[in-house]
Amino acid sequence: MQRIGVFVCWCGSNIAGTVDVQAVSDALKNEPGVVFSTNYQYMCSQAGQNMIKDAVAEHKLTGIVVCSCSPRMHEATFRKTAAAAGINPYMVEIANIREQCSWVHKDMVTGTEKAIILGKAAVAKVNLNTPLTPGESPVTKRALVIGGGIAGIQTALDIADAGFPVDIVEKKPTIGGKMAQLDKTFPTLDCAACILTPKMVDVAQNDKIRIFSYSEVTDVKGFVGNFDVTIKKHARYVKEDICTGCGACTEKCPMKKVPNEFNLGMDNRSAIYIPFAQAVPKVATIDPNYCNMLKNGKCGVCSKVCAAGAIDYKQQDEFIEEKYGAIVVATGFNPISMDKFDEFAYNQSKDVITSLEFERLTNAAGPTAGKLLRPSDLKHPHTIVFVQCVGSRCDACAEKGKEYCSKICCMYTAKHAMLTRDKYPDTDVYVFYIDVRTPGKNFDEFYRRAVEEYGVHYIKGMVGKVTPEGDKLKVQASDLLANKQLHIDADLVVLAAAIEPDKSARPLATMLTASMDTNDFFTEAHPKLRPVESPTAGVFLSGACQGPKDIPETVSQAGAAASKVIGLLAKDKLTGNPCVASSNELMCNGCSTCERVCPYGAITYENKEFRMPDRTTAIRRIAVVNPAVCQGCGCCTVACPSGAMDLRGFANSQIIAEVDAICK
């Protein structure tokens, strides 16, 4: 049984005006466990706090009930007071007799009656309180960034800048991501490579940053501050530390008919390749699907031409295990497949392309060396139709496409249209749109320039069908404003394909126990207040893996994620919330029900040997809560049928005691 002290606050007249504080402290005197009860003008004042401290000493109190304002006001204050008086801060409960009593009731009798009941409930709860101590865990001062696009790069640079080591894991042979494939960037039209590649070089040269390119994360264990991550480094059959990136091998490689993914298959590369000139790391990679030497042991040209002797056909996948304190997900996006959009004839005509392909066609380092030539016959197109919202903003019930807006298409289409008209004024450019969305800084001005200065034909309406006929693409569309059908003979049709999270995100989310929405975008811990954190502590979100974003937004989120990581890594120890769930292993069924409702992945299972009643032993599966990860919502406690799972500070018995006291 506890020795409880009750302290009723007048709060000047705020409480005492409607509640007979003397009556409250008298009534609570006889409650079980209460050994001392008093009232005072301002409990939160220094004098009031001293009163509590004195009473603790004098009456050997083990628990404290303060009947005062909302715990949201002064719970922390009184917990500190308790700690100073030498009792555990979690042995304090507040009865909210101001906001939820004196301020809402006018009548002294009613107010006093209710205040007594609220006090009794708090006393009943404290009787069952146990001292709680926040758990502490160390922090590994290293961060992992998964994905080496602009989001990952920016996050890594910012973290490294604060002095913490960072590893970037990129599944492609080079970092750079989608931005490296872009030509110009809206709304300023500066060249993507010009602003990205220096950052890539910064990453390569930063001694705090390690790049694991051509690698992926295969396993994540542990929790915030203490992740154990396994990284699989794919064999690239080239010794990364020796290769100078001279490119001799790529020139001499006899296997030259490999679709070049960097140019989205619009031209070819060799079996040993460097994705693009400014690749980081600038080392060659052998594509095992095409290399004759690897496939049937014949060739070996690259090995012969490599002066540095970097080729290693025997190289194996390598597994690296590393500890991290924080993980940033920056897995990015991809345009969706156009396979299901037969109406736009994407698979029938080479001249129906996606916007990303258009980027490569206009890029000086692209397959056409920057000249806008249509892929089928390398002729200059005179009529270009841009189709917006292909696969974006679809019906929930539609079998193809996404419900959400891909956000970036309006702007890059405006960019493409404007650049085309700028370079090739003889070209007719049509843009079919549902809405034009331009809410960013200088965005609407940019779009209006496309229309007003560059004479791009913006038509509100959707393209119904594209039919290849001869060397033309017959575009059938509706103009909703003019309310008429249009037929355009186009040379090139560009589809603004919706974007979706990279396919690698889903398995990664499972490994990280980070939650995702139905579209496979990572969910944030709070959509408004914690937008760059995942609900899983220690896992942060950067870039388009969280939702469609343009570059400025991505970069700012990347910085924000970095600052959160820095804040975490700057700590030597993590102090947890002591009000966490814990499972009584003797009652646990190991049924996984709790795990399924835990938003933080705080619950894992282990097999443990138990002594059975008949003196034999048996292995049973039991739930284990990681107190460093648990946030204390208590969802698991209700999901648990046996009641093995309980929440400290809000235990079943405590809440029931409150219910009982209120209903007494």
């Binding site: 709070h526 208590g634 969802c635 209700v638 999901a639 219910v659």
Partner: protein, 144 residues
């Protein structure tokens, strides 16, 4: 002859982050609601076990209301979604057993909705009062 006015007893479980703060705001704004409503603070509405609801009725509560963050706004991201399913099923079962449906309610009240909190409690208390004492889920041993 003076008839003693019947006062319903209402237990309100409020989540710490939204509804409890909403109740505080109602207090700050001096928006009154019946003193019959007694609030129990829980970290999240998903902490409320159906057993607590039944316990309240056993001990003589006439109505039980759960308040949590609006769907999508849960401090713990998904807690109130589970609450919603659990309580939908529980309430439906209670209704199936013939317990008056007006005795149970779930309401989403944000920290900014002090007025909504007070209005909800006024309305709920009124509805429960109209039903009279809870006779169908009471435990005679605990008769008030």
């Amino acid at each position: 002859m003076q008839v003693k006015e019947y006062k319903p007893l209402i237990v309100a479980f409020c989540c710490n982050w939204c509804s409890y703060a909403g109740a505080d705001l109602a207090g700050n704004n001096r928006l009154s609601y019946p003193a019959d409503v007694k609030i129990i603070r829980v970290p999240c509405s998903c902490r409320v076990n159906p057993m607590f609801v039944l316990r309240a009725f056993q001990r003589g509560a006439d109505g039980v209301i759960l308040c949590g963050c609006h769907p999508g706004d849960c401090h713990y991201t998904s807690g109130n979604y589970y609450t919603r399913r659990r309580m939908a099923l529980l309430f439906s079962m209670l209704d199936y057993l013939g317990i008056e449906k007006e005795r149970t309610r779930v309401e989403w009240v944000s920290a900014a909705e002090g007025a909504k909190f007070a209005a909800t409690m006024n309305d709920f208390a009124e509805k429960v009062a109209a039903l009279g004492e809870n006779k169908r889920l009471e435990d005679l041993r605990c008769k008030r």
